[in-house]
């Protein structure tokens, strides 16, 4: 069994899939989204995260075996049973630790635990396929349909991502597209509408619109990094509702928030 690097494991997860879930945040992500609210999960390696008093840093990232993770996940079985919940692998990027992720998901499925992944879709199809085999629900992040813009705000182009989205859609997996709505970055009518259009084409029935929030801001300071969206405000409720209607107009179920 392989080992993986886990940033943290959260119980009573309520924003990443149905019911009450345990969310396993893996560490290491190839993207550098400017709005990322968990920058401590980006770097692929252990790192120190300094507290307010900057005295002793907290080490983020722990190498865990598949069984160790599954043991933690199994603790909340009763909560999954009662709520229709389960496990969600998130990140970081799941596809960057594909083998480890696939093994966790496989073990969970063997225990009849509902499995979900939250992914940027950025990875080789081979890795993605390996993970998808044991995934019941895919929460697929689409940040921008324009590859140049995507490169500008995330550090990578979106070609691989869109390609993976198309392929995954053909497997008839339950899939939800999630769009982080970042004012001035990807919240144009055009981008959202095109994304909904793509969902429709691919037979994906649901889109989640996640409003930008600045809760991750202070983490950047603790990691001694610069936060690029310093003065950005969250989108208004009106704006979010407007975008929701826009998505719905394409015949897609839309939801604000996870």
């Amino acid at each position: 069994m392989s080992e993986g690097l886990v940033a943290r494991i959260e119980s009573y997860g309520v924003y990443d899939g149905p019911g009450i879930r345990t969310v396993v945040f893996l560490k290491g992500c190839p993207l550098r989204c400017q709005w990322c609210s968990s920058p401590e999960t980006q770097h692929r390696g252990q790192e120190y995260y300094y507290g307010e008093d900057s005295s002793k840093g907290e080490l983020v990232g722990r190498y865990m075996s598949v069984e160790e993770v599954v043991e933690v996940v199994k603790q909340d079985m009763t909560f999954y049973n009662q709520s229709g919940g389960g496990v969600t692998l998130s990140g970081g990027e799941v596809l960057s630790q594909a083998k480890f992720s696939a093994e966790i998901l496989k073990r969970c499925q063997e225990e009849y635990i509902h499995t979900a992944i939250e992914t940027s879709g950025y990875g080789s199809w081979g890795n993605f396929k390996q993970v998808l085999e044991f995934t019941d629900l895919v929460l697929f992040d689409i940040k921008h349909l324009d590859s140049n813009k995507h490169l500008e705000v995330t550090g990578v182009e979106n070609t691989w991502i869109i390609d993976n989205l198309r392929r995954a859609a053909q497997l008839n997996k339950e899939m939800i597209i999630r769009i982080p709505v970042i004012p001035g970055v990807n919240d144009s009518k055009e981008n959202i509408s095109q994304t909904a259009q793509l969902a429709q084409e691919l037979g994906i029935k649901e889109v989640h619109l996640l409003a930008y929030h600045s809760l991750g801001r202070e983490k950047y300071a603790r990691l001694d990094r610069e936060y690029l969206l310093e003065n950005l405000e969250s989108p208004s409720d009106e704006k979010m509702n407007y975008l929701k209607k826009l998505v719905e107009s394409k015949g897609i179920k839309a939801q604000i928030g996870g």
């Binding site: 019911g19 009450i20 909340d76 009763t78 909560f79 049973n81 709520s83 928030g257």
Partner: protein
């Protein structure tokens, strides 16, 4: 999903509520005056009759009133939210507090105002009682080592000696079935069977006569209200009010003497009984039992006959809740902190199942839920019995009320409580018919003795501090239990554990001694005649409850600080004995100086980083289980004073229902190896230490359910905080309901929720006037946040603040 809004519908209720809520808590001299006269007139009478005569005199002479718009009548003292005085229990503290402060209204929390003109009268009455009270006589009996341990505050039994018993649910069903005339007839029949030549017959005769006299006094008390209503009819012009008063007169002529014929009469009946029980005894936690069950036949009948509307039913219930809220009891400052916020713990239980496993929720259960939600008062303490087959609608409506954010209802789990009762020898039918009493304790209504929980407190964390210090209390310097060595002497964790076991054995014994002292004196000095006449089988046995009259009589003390003990053991085990990264000497030194200096702070952080109970981590959770079992193995060897005198049981079990004692218990305890600073509150109930349950609510339940809950029949208390955003909106609300279902399936005993943000609580601290009806869950009961002293407020904020 639109949030359900709970709004009072009836202007009458709105007015009555405002009146009771705006009343400044007071003290009434009348009871003290009349009981003193009665005792002086009946010095030679047997104690049962002396008590009966006293109750008779009080009920005949105390001021009574009917307020405008009241539907349910009957008052405990000269005004609402006004505490009567019970001098027969304790007076020394009253004199001392008045001498020091001039009144009872200068306290930091739970203050009461005694009208100036009554201060001298009270001080005079006190002189008669000095040396004769329950407290004085108990104190004479207490061995020195117990007194010492009480000063160290490793045990605390003062409540029992100054407040008496309470914690009981009488047989309301019987009264509803045959009225007090029926109770009198029962006593009469026993009296007629007596052969005075037989052993003990003379005593029984006095007891039965006292029962008859007391029940008649209650009937006459009701008739005083009938007369008052008639008098008031003459004085009012409003025809509606006239009609209502005529109705009240009619009611009070009939009940509680005769069996009620309809819902209105039934509610008035239970109020009279419940009221007089609280005038008779100074105890609190007198509870109403399964109200939705015993009132349902009246409700159903009236609805079917079309003689009552749901709106009126709700109005009556709300009038009853206002009456419950109007009752308060005066406690010594030294004990008030143990139950802060004027709690009276008058429990009402709804829901549950019958012995066939069929759910017993009915329309009245929903009306009770809704009416309590609309009132937003701290009384009654509403408890909901839940189980795996509870109706979805019931769970959701209960969750809706919880979400409204004032701590009620508390949820109690049939899935563990019923097996636990069966395990203690309770019959199958009785186990399914259980009710909550006070906060989280359970009993069979009308068949169980006093204080199924609520005997002497055991401060487990102090016991640990003493274990680490070879029985010497660092705060007072008192030596309690020496000879086991201190932390520096222990070569292994096992040695420490052996010392812990020896210490717990010692303090357990002391706590039982306190109970026995209190119980023997309560039995001798303050028998409750009305209460005994309504608990089976007191009449048949010719015994008061305290003499062994109840069918079941099992009790427990309250064990406080379990989470801190487990966390402390985990730190010591990990750092001193396993990693050896900390020396015992160094730890003891930094505890002694409360983590002073850089090194002290470093050690504190290290201790805080150690595994903590409440996160599902076996390393520490198993230590909690073991630490608690140490106590369990001791307490199971002891009996209470009713053992072998009639009741089933006569023994002890455990309880983590420590009310708010975690604050005063913490105040006397120095810094501890869990990283807790000196004087800070301990954890409460079975809940994790404030701020250490970082894995969220599932982790807490995973830890708590590892405890030997089956054996903790005295009740297990879990305070669960939920930030408001985790119950808001349909998707999160659904998850919250699932969480409750998981709680049921995990067989946890009890859970109560505080769904209020720390921001709101802080605002209330600054502007108490604006937050008068901010109700929070303290520990097994609810209190108005702004009436709590600051320490307790801060503790609640700390508990709420936790982010997960």
């Amino acid at each position: 999903m639109k949030d359900k809004v709970y709004q009072i519908q009836s202007p009458r209720v709105e007015k009555l509520r405002e009146s009771v809520l705006s009343k400044r808590p007071g003290v009434c001299i009348e009871r003290a005056r009349y009981i003193t006269e009665a005792y002086q007139e009946n010095e030679a009478a047997p104690i049962y009759l002396k008590r009966a005569k006293a109750v008779e005199k009080i009920l005949q002479n105390m001021s009574i009133y009917i307020k405008d718009g009241e539907l349910i009548v009957g008052n405990q003292a000269s005004d609402e939210r006004t505490a009567p005085i019970f001098p027969e229990y304790a007076v020394e503290w009253m004199e001392a507090e008045i001498e020091a402060e001039g009144n009872f209204d200068k306290r930091s929390g739970d203050n009461f105002h005694l009208p100036k003109e009554h201060i001298d009268e009270l001080l005079e009455l006190v002189q008669y009682w000095k040396g004769k009270t329950l407290h004085a006589k108990c104190y004479q009996l207490l061995p020195d080592e117990v007194k010492k341990a009480s000063k160290v505050k490793v045990i605390h039994g003062e409540g029992n000696m100054t407040s008496g018993d309470g914690h009981i649910v009488p047989d309301f069903e019987k009264v509803l079935d045959k009225g007090l005339e029926g109770i009198i007839a029962e006593a009469q029949a026993e009296l007629e069977k007596l052969d005075l030549g037989e052993v003990d017959a003379i005593r029984r005769k006095a007891f039965l006569e006292a029962i008859i006299l007391t029940n008649k006094s209650v009937m006459n008390f009701a008739k005083r209200y009938a007369q008052l209503a008639k008098d008031q009819v003459e004085e009012v012009a409003d025809p509606t009010i006239k009609e209502e008063l005529i109705k009240i007169a009619e009611l009070c002529e009939r009940v509680p003497a005769k069996a009620p014929r309809n819902f209105y009469e039934a509610v008035q009946t239970i109020w009279f009984i419940h009221l007089v029980l609280q005038i008779e005894s100074n105890g609190h936690s007198a509870s109403l039992g399964r109200v939705d069950q015993y009132l349902y036949p009246f409700y159903k009948n009236d609805i079917e006959e079309g003689t009552i509307t749901k709106e009126f039913v709700k109005e009556l219930l709300e009038c009853l809740w206002i009456k419950l809220f109007s009752i308060i009891k005066l406690r010594p400052t030294s004990h008030a902190g143990y139950g802060a916020g004027y709690p009276t713990y008058q429990n009402v239980t709804i829901g549950g199942q019958n012995a066939q496993g069929k759910d017993e929720t009915n329309e009245l259960s929903y009306l009770i839920l809704e009416s309590v939600a609309e009132m937003k008062l701290t009384q009654p303490n509403l408890s909901v019995r839940v189980h795996t087959n509870s109706p979805e609608r019931f769970l959701r409506e209960a969750a809706e009320v919880i979400k409204a954010g004032y701590g009620m209802p508390a949820l109690h789990n049939d899935e563990i409580i019923i097996p636990s009762l069966l395990d203690k020898g309770v019959s199958y039918e009785d186990a399914y018919g259980y009710t909550m009493v006070g906060c989280v304790e359970v009993a069979v209504p009308g068949k169980w003795g006093y204080r199924c929980t609520g005997m002497t407190f055991l401060n487990m964390l102090k016991a640990l501090e003493l274990t680490l210090n070879d029985g010497v209390d660092p705060r007072t310097g008192y030596e309690l239990f020496k000879g086991q060595g201190n932390l520096n002497d222990f070569r292994s964790f096992d040695q420490l554990w052996k010392a812990w076991e020896a210490h717990i054995a010692y303090y357990t014994k002391l706590s039982v001694i306190v109970d026995h002292v209190a119980d023997t004196q309560l039995e001798e000095l303050v028998p409750d005649i009305l209460c005994s006449s309504l608990v089976n089988d007191c009449i048949k046995r010719g015994k008061t409850v305290k003499e062994g009259g109840a069918i079941y009589d099992m009790v427990s003390g309250l064990q406080v600080g379990l989470a801190n003990v487990a966390n402390s053991f985990a730190s010591i085990k990990k750092y001193i004995f396993e990693e050896k990264s900390l020396k015992a000497e160094e730890l003891m030194e930094s505890l002694a100086n409360n983590f002073a200096g850089d090194r002290g702070q470093f050690i504190k952080k290290m201790l805080l980083d150690a595994p903590k109970y409440g996160n599902g981590d076996d390393y520490v959770d198993q230590l909690a289980v073991a630490a608690y079992k140490t106590y369990m193995n001791q307490i199971k060897n002891y009996k209470n004073t009713r053992y072998g005198r009639g009741p089933i049981g006569g023994n002890y079990y455990m309880s983590t229902s420590g009310i708010s004692s975690n604050v005063p218990m913490g105040t006397v305890t120095g810094a501890t190896p869990d990283g807790r600073e000196a004087e800070k509150p301990t954890a409460e109930g079975a809940s994790p230490t404030q701020g250490t349950d970082v894995k969220g609510p599932t982790g807490v339940l995973n830890s708590v359910t590892k405890l030997p809950t089956m054996m903790i029949t005295g009740g297990q208390l879990l305070n669960q905080k939920f930030p408001p955003e985790l119950v808001a909106g349909e998707r999160q609300f659904d998850r919250f309901v699932s969480f409750i279902k998981a709680f049921i399936n995990l067989k946890a005993w009890h859970v109560q929720f505080n769904i209020v943000s720390s921001k709101t609580l802080r605002a209330a601290q600054h502007n108490p006037e604006e937050y008068r009806d901010l109700i929070v869950r303290v520990a097994g009961y609810c209190a108005q946040f702004v009436t709590l002293d600051q320490k307790t407020q801060d503790d609640i904020i700390a508990r709420t603040e936790q982010k997960f």
